[in-house]
Symmetry: C2
Subunit: 395 residues, 2 copies
């Protein structure tokens, strides 16, 4: 492609960020022809005639040769992306939830129609983690990808640990600064990280795992006692997404708060930043660090996908065609910290062994080994109880 | 290319590392057919018949469709690479000195013959800095690339600062561990970093600058007083290579020891690791960190270039074809720390202004502003004097 004519869906933080970045870099090869928004009457920072509320104005316009999808609603995003790909029009998307639920089908559709879907902006904003897994770490024996993939929850944890804020106060501040949505559930309960992990895993191990099958636990129940405990032990609580190879053709993955020791790279990832550690047998550990959210950083990442289209770039999904077929397993154990109040909450947890136990009137915890599969089974129940759980690192 | 038949030049740390990595990942699409070495009689870890000491056995073999050049001697490397490219055979090279001196000509040759030369392994071992500048940070308004690009000198500095070793002792340890060559001049005097910086700058700003025109000063004259000074001020001395945009179409670049404050990412880059900070207007700061040297990490990086050839990847040198023609300037000032013994050494330095001055019988320093152009003019003279210089960050 020598000239890209963009049809843009969505004009929120990232959509507007992309338009600002495009204006700033004065790119002549890519222009936004039309922007489809839900509410056509809302005042906008760009000329009125650019906007429409009819998807067909983009999807049926043969002069548009790239659809950029940056809308909030995962279901609506899915229909836009599918229709564009079916029409043979390449797509750049930033919607991690949509991708996490539909990637398997969308990869098949890309292959069937020979059309590209790029989404580096969907995971870790400005950090090019997908592109690097796809292009650079594609041949080595990958051991793990671990990281802080959600800026909002990390911002909250930083304020709690470094400035002694309470959880609610830190959350309000994150919302005021635009790092957290007005409904922060996805961020603080770990779903945003989980969706990104599902996408990353497709490029790390070549295998799609449905997000509903995976363990996720967030930071909304982190309490003053947990924070004091972490401080006393000289560790920080971070919300970590990880996929780790186990044996020759298995991997496991989950999103959990972790007690992170000072010697880990992600210990120092603060505020709204993201950090990813890629570990391979030959190169050891690679650490990538940068802004994971915000209009400009994410807009800039979307622009990287757009300019990649100028060179007809597409993901090859190399790991999916590799010699080894990796599959997900939850048949593994790890050390879990559990803070609880009532004995029946403790009883819910099928510990294989308990190695530490403390109780007082107001604060009770155990640390012990537990099978991931056993936790996955009771994950909805865990979410309803007044408990906080956190993992010790697998390796 | 569906199958890569490699002719390998060199079987040192990286060449042997590559063969080990290839064996480890069991790649079927790439095989080493012949290895050209200088000394055919030296015992090797691979079968005798793989080796030759006649370059023609590779360069004249039509079945070899990729030349991988991993030899020490820059002049010999240049002739091998040029001959292969002239024959239309793509090349992967790890020789930073050869590239730093001949890149301009080799880019022209690539374009004239339509053949690819890849060299991501030449800068920062396992950190994919060139590929990311070329592919991902290709559209944004880049502000700077700064980093610790040499593992050997950083290892020495870490031992000095963290373990109170003396310079000579730390250097011997680096040599024993294989991080420094028996002639460590390139590493400790900053030339290795400079060569990498010249290569990086071609991909960051699209402009080739001859290494002989640039200021380089290393760490071999770092003394006990300098170390004590840095400790008292709570900073660390790091050998930093940087290229920084100045104004709309200029940049400056140099390699100097720097007094690095604790709030900088590279403050925490220790031992043989490399760390690179890429700064852009839209995405802010990106930090990449990993092993910069050693057979496996660098071999793994060479393999990334080899597998990129399976997908017919080549550098597009996008910044060279960008709208802005950037040029190098040394018409800029910065704050310099100068430790000296004799007044005539101080007098050599054309300070524009001196902001701090200290002297005692055994230790004398000044800090002041100095023009880069004035330092470049006297760089050979500086190298002969008993002085140590270090930069404060430009921004």
């Amino acid at each position: 492609m020598s000239k890209i004519t963009i049809g843009l869906f969505g004009f929120g933080v990232v959509g507007e960020g992309l338009c600002n970045v495009l204006a700033k870099v004065q790119m002549k090869e890519a222009v936004v022809k039309k922007i489809c928004i839900r509410d056509g009457r809302k005042p906008r920072s760009l000329p009125r005639e650019l906007f429409t509320d009819r998807p067909g104005d983009i999807l049926d316009d043969p002069s548009i040769n790239l659809v950029v999808e940056l809308i909030d609603d995962a279901e609506a995003a899915y229909h836009v992306v599918r229709r564009a790909l079916e029409n043979g029009v390449p797509v750049v998307s930033g919607n991690k939830k949509m991708l996490a639920y539909h990637l398997e089908e969308l990869i098949a559709l890309q292959e069937a129609r020979g059309v590209a879907l790029l989404y580096d902006a969907s995971a870790c904003g400005s950090i090019p983690v997908i592109r690097n897994l796809e292009e650079y770490y594609d041949n080595d024996l990958l051991i793990s990808v671990k990281g802080i993939l959600n800026g909002s929850s990390n911002f909250i944890l930083s304020k709690i640990f470094n400035e002694n804020m309470e959880y609610g106060e830190a959350l309000r501040m994150a919302q005021e600064l635009g790092f957290a949505e007005s409904d922060p559930t996805f961020d603080v309960e770990g779903y945003d990280s989980l969706f990104k992990l599902v996408i990353i895993t497709v490029h790390a191990f070549g295998t799609y795992v449905h997000p509903d099958d995976l363990l996720t636990f967030g930071i909304s129940k982190l309490g003053a006692d947990d924070i004091r405990y972490a401080r006393e032990k000289g560790v920080r609580v971070k919300l970590v997404a990880q996929v780790v190879k186990l044996g020759p053709d298995k991997f496991t993955m989950f999103v959990l708060p972790q007690l992170i020791t000072r010697d880990k790279y992600i210990y120092s990832v603060e505020d709204e930043f993201n950090g990813v550690v890629i570990k391979g047998e030959c190169y050891g550990k690679q650490f990538m660090f940068g802004k994971g959210a915000g209009g400009y950083p994410t807009g800039s990442s979307v622009l990287s996908d757009i300019t990649a289209r100028l060179h007809d770039y597409r993901y090859e999904y190399k790991k999916r065609h590799g010699a080894t077929r990796f599959s997900y397993t939850d048949d593994c154990s790890f050390r879990l910290y559990l803070r609880y109040a009532r004995e029946e909450d403790l009883a819910l947890f099928p510990f294989e062994s308990i190695t530490e136990r403390y109780w007082s009137d107001n604060y009770k915890y155990v640390i012990g080994h537990v099978r991931l599969a056993d936790l996955v089974k009771i994950k909805e129940e865990i979410a309803r109880r007044d408990v906080f759980i956190a993992a010790a690192p697998l390796n």
